[in-house]
Symmetry: C2
Subunit: 191 residues, 2 copies
């Protein structure tokens, strides 16, 4: 998606430790019109899959999730993150390891909002190791729902998550795939 | 806003302790089309104020904030919540007391995204005591920005926050104002 790649080139900042800072338009300040275009692009890619629900994870997935749900005219469900264990009988929950933050957290979704027969598209702002995505898919499948694939805004394609998921037969559509980045050279994409 | 009030009547659940559960459409599962209508309504109410930025607080403010930003064709900035103190020189921060959760947390916004001369509309899903709203306004004003008012989805009008803010001269527009609620009688609104 050229509009997105240009935004990353002009507004993204590469920091030490393979951190791509896009907080001026994606996850602190949000470019709502770009999010709306991203939602439409995910609709174009997945519109024949019978999707009836979008799923993401708080907080930085909510903006893109909401715009994708608007494009599909269906609800968004976002998983909540908990650092402390707080399991009650009425939620689906699993653990997610964060490569970036070097910690483990729980994600939970109320059982009211995931149902057998749901056809779910997962969306998220970033994909690196794929752990959050795998956790979300696990919650959906625990509910008996089907996950038709994932729509990702920025894939760190130099990390293995995306390709491992694709090789397992899971459909992952990334609107930008960063193959390398550095403070000196900026961001390079692959198609 | 009748569309919203009807949704609250039909899908809201009143729980013990003056809790209005609207997590089926507002803050866990999200009705994106309703959020888009809410965004348009805030635009109708504040369109003559020269707003160039929408501001809210994670996580449950992001959906309505994003749709409001889309209606205004301007960016959204959401404040981050931190339970632990993590102040660095490059953020505005203040403490917010949560009446609901009986705790105090820090909210922060990067100094990059609030500027002198900004005309800001704050939006949020709930208004009760008004502490979150006052905190957001404080961050904006610390940056030299002007806050033109607040757009609220659900005001708990039996709590004093909204009226205290209005009496101080601050413009608060609530799309629904709940005057009483109980598990037996459901939700009553005032205009």
């Amino acid at each position: 998606m050229e509009l997105l790649k240009n935004k990353i080139r002009t507004h993204g900042k590469v920091a030490a430790g393979n951190i791509l800072k896009v907080d001026s338009f994606l996850n602190h300040q949000i470019d709502a019109e770009l999010m709306a275009e991203i939602g439409k692009e995910f609709y174009r890619l997945f519109k024949d899959e019978g999707v009836n629900k979008i799923m993401t994870i708080e907080a930085s997935g909510i903006a893109v999730g909401c715009m994708t749900a608007l494009a599909f005219k269906c609800p968004l469900v976002f998983a909540k993150k908990n650092k402390t264990l707080n399991i009650s009988g009425d939620v689906y929950t699993c653990k997610v390891e964060s490569y970036t933050h070097k910690n483990t957290y729980d994600i939970t979704v109320s059982k009211d909002f995931l149902n057998k027969g749901d056809k779910i598209l997962i969306v998220d702002d970033f994909l690196a190791m794929g752990n959050a995505l795998i956790g979300l898919r696990q919650l959906a499948e625990e509910a008996g729902a089907e996950v038709v694939g994932a729509g990702i805004v920025i894939e760190k394609a130099f990390q293995p998550g995306g390709d491992l998921l694709r090789k397992s037969g899971f459909r992952v559509e990334s609107l930008s795939r960063v193959i390398s980045m550095s403070p000196e050279e900026g961001v390079q994409f692959i198609d």
